[in-house]
Amino acid sequence: MPPESAAKMHRPTLLAGLAGAAAPLALAAFGQAQPTPAILVALAVGGLGLALARRDPEPATRAVETAPAAAGDPLPYAAIIGALEDPVMVIAAGAPGETAGHRLAFANPAARALFRIQRQDARLITAIRNPQVIELVDEALIGRIAGHGVFEAGGAHDRVWVASAQPLTGETGSAPLALLVLRDQTDLRRAERMRADFLANASHELRTPLASLTGFIETLRGPARDDAVARDRFLGIMQTQAERMARLIDDLMSLSRIELNEHIAPQGRVDLALAVTDVADALTPVTRDKGVRIDWSAPAAAAATVEGDRDQIIQVIQNLIDNAVKYSSADGVIRVEVSAPASGETPPPLDPEAARLALLAPDHRPGELYALLRVSDSGPGMPRDALPRLTERFYRVEGQKSGDRSGTGLGLAIVKHIVNRHRGGISVESAEGRGATFSVWLPLAATGQAAGPEGVVKAS
């Protein structure tokens, strides 16, 4: 490592300090031993921690503050280690053969907070009892072998940690020491898992219509070859299935397009009331077929003008009304309501007995006003426990019309991503048998000046 050796020439003390703080991480990252500086520093801290722990029962923070002065060193190594966000611990070996006898000689505040360590010289086992980690520490203490491994801390917040243990050389005659450093890998794991889930779901959703297409093709080439009536009927079904696949692929592509632009503020202005009219008009054939009526109310023209990408806002309204139509019974009524100005809080409930949940809440600036769009249907509604999962991709409320699955399961996920891009919020309220109401609120466009460039500045 040339930069490090260069630094060594000029500032040996600084290097030792920084390497001491960083070496455990570097080691865990590269799986490579680089013993001297790390051990020196950790030894200083660990030894001091031990000495102080034996002398007075003060809390660890005191020990950390006094340590550098005692060492007479220009750099506050202990404070540096104390300030690290990763849990760092120095462990002293217990009596031979007693793994449960290992004790903590030092633990930085991050480690103390994470494992709720109260006692100065607590046993390691009371902090971490994962056998893999205990084994790592054992090997570092007794076998003097450095190693690392991944472990999961169970419980409500499933956290995944990478633990790395390395032997430290203590004073001669004292108990063997080892350094244990943990790094949080939870987000990485979660992202991996989500990707795997998404792939599994997407391929499953595509496979169902594909399987039915293949089946019908086989039938048409075989037994139904000369049956004109069956052929017509099958071709109709095949067309529906092919359309379903096309819709799914369209939705997947539009979702990935929206995600690409999610962190770029939208340009342009859209009158929400006009957009609702356009969508309602466009959906007339669908609503007429189903016998559903759309009742809508909106403020005066231009009162509900929001900053936004017109196509995307239309898509939000369309997906919401589409859903409402889908879940309404024949001759049901869908209420669409646009109002402005509204605050950035979750809108007040329409039905006091329904469960209510914010699916997306914007960080709103004080004084900022929003336009509110509410779409209510009189469909079967949803149980409370389904609400938090509504914007998950491919999520479907259990037991709801699995026979007629015209939707792709992506509609609300698309809505969420678009609204998020527009710095808006979404909430849902529903109770079983009492319909559902989706509310979307978007920031009103600033009056008088062009909204576009300002929006871009805000985002950057």
């Binding site: 449960a100 046993r123 086992i125 009892r129 893999q132 419980g155 409500a156 108990a175």
Partner: protein, 230 residues
Amino acid sequence: MNEHIVRSYEEELNQLAAEVVRMGGLAEAQVNDSIQAFARRDVAMAQAMIGRDGKLDAMEADIERAAIRMIALRQPMANDLRRTMSAMKIAMNLERCGDLAKNIGKRTLILAEAEPAGPVTRSIERMGKLVASRLKEVIDAYTNSEVDRAVSVWSRDTEVDEHYESLFRELLTYMMGDPRTITAGAHLLFVAKNLERIGDHATNIAEIVHFEITGQEIVSERPKLDTLTP
């Protein structure tokens, strides 16, 4: 140097408790691994965790021996006797948890040869996570001598039972839908039952922890769901 120091009685009791915590960590890992192997249909992981069960048995024997030695040599009284006895009893419960986890591992090996069961697997995994978190909590309560936490685990056992009931129904529907799934379904049923039993052992440990600390048994009758569970 340590071996020359005559260790205090208190120290010996602490060491015994620490060994139980260590065993708890192992039992927890066994349960977690069995659930993970089951959910991912990971044959190698299931085999590895089955192989580790012997370690748990050996630890239980060690703890029992140490506890009996304590009773014989130190003749503990009152609080100390409760601590010794609860170490022994908790070790026993943990060993049972390990056995049940091993059984899940074995069924995972069989299930890996059948078709994936889909959503039912997810439900069982969810129940497994719940049970694992109960076990973790109760061992935490034992480690830090927290009565409140032990009582909270004890009083929430119904949640696990409810999960089991709903899984039971889900599995029946699954098996009735397609008789070819009955073999897999029966194994899944046992996996769920094993998880429910691990939850019961966590509740037992909570009772032991409560008794160890307070010297009294948890008096009020725990709300229990008894429609299907014998």
